[in-house]
């Protein structure tokens, strides 16, 4: 796969692929890394769906959880579910750009927020279960 890499011209300045901010930077990276980046994006999308499902399930099912805490937990889950697609898109674009430029990969910007938020939502549900 690497033999042809030398004679591939640097086509970044005229590359028409979307988004141009990504594809006009650097040169074509190892395709395995681009595809892995694509799968990471898809994993974030599925994470978003799971977070949203958790929030909706808390409210839609008749669960024995104190009302206020249940709603708070559901809202935290769904707000996290709103942030995950943003992380998915921004993370994909930043990583692809870094791959093309041969720079170190960016860290997941919203990773800490999602970890803390998921913990908080879990605690809200737990306390709500105990208080009910």
């Amino acid at each position: 796969m690497d033999e042809g890499a030398e004679d591939v011209p640097d086509e970044a300045p005229t590359d028409r692929r979307f988004p141009r901010r990504v594809y006009r930077a650097g040169r074509e990276p190892d395709p395995r890394f681009s595809l892995a980046n694509e799968r990471t994006f898809l994993a974030w999308i599925r994470t978003s769906l799971a977070l949203v499902a958790a929030g909706v399930a808390l409210e839609a099912l008749d669960l024995p959880i104190a009302d206020g805490l249940r709603l708070a937990g559901a809202l935290v889950f769904i707000v996290l579910g709103l942030l995950a697609p943003a992380q998915a898109w921004l993370g994909w674009a930043a990583t692809e750009r870094a791959l093309r430029q041969g720079r170190p990969l960016p860290s997941p910007r919203l990773g800490l927020l999602l970890a803390v938020g998921t913990t908080v939502a879990g605690l809200l549900v737990l306390v709500g279960l105990v208080l009910r």
């Binding site: 033999e3 890499a5 990276p29 799968r39 898809l42 769906l49 409210e59 839609a60 769904i78 697609p85």
Partner: protein
Amino acid sequence: MTDRPDAVFDLGLQAERTALAWQRTALAVAIGALVAGRLAVPVFGAGSLAVAVLGVVGAVVVLVVSRRRYRAVHQSLRARGDLAAVRSAGAPIAALAGVGLLVALLALAFVLLR
């Protein structure tokens, strides 16, 4: 579709794994839409069934696009060893991120309005 195994240029089966990742994401979208449509009937009435139908149609579109993309990736890898010949890699990605955002907004409306 293929006359030679992927392993010739793709030892990690990256293209196939990526296609499978798109497929399970489409499946998650379809199931999520069906469940959401069912749950939202008492809140939004018959309109929630439209959401379910829309979600399933969207999942089918994702499947078709990922199928075509798999083919394009495969051909680009075989022809030149990179992905430069694959058209608009970012467009389906942006569209799916938009769908994810929309789903979360609908869920927010569901939780607050019920």
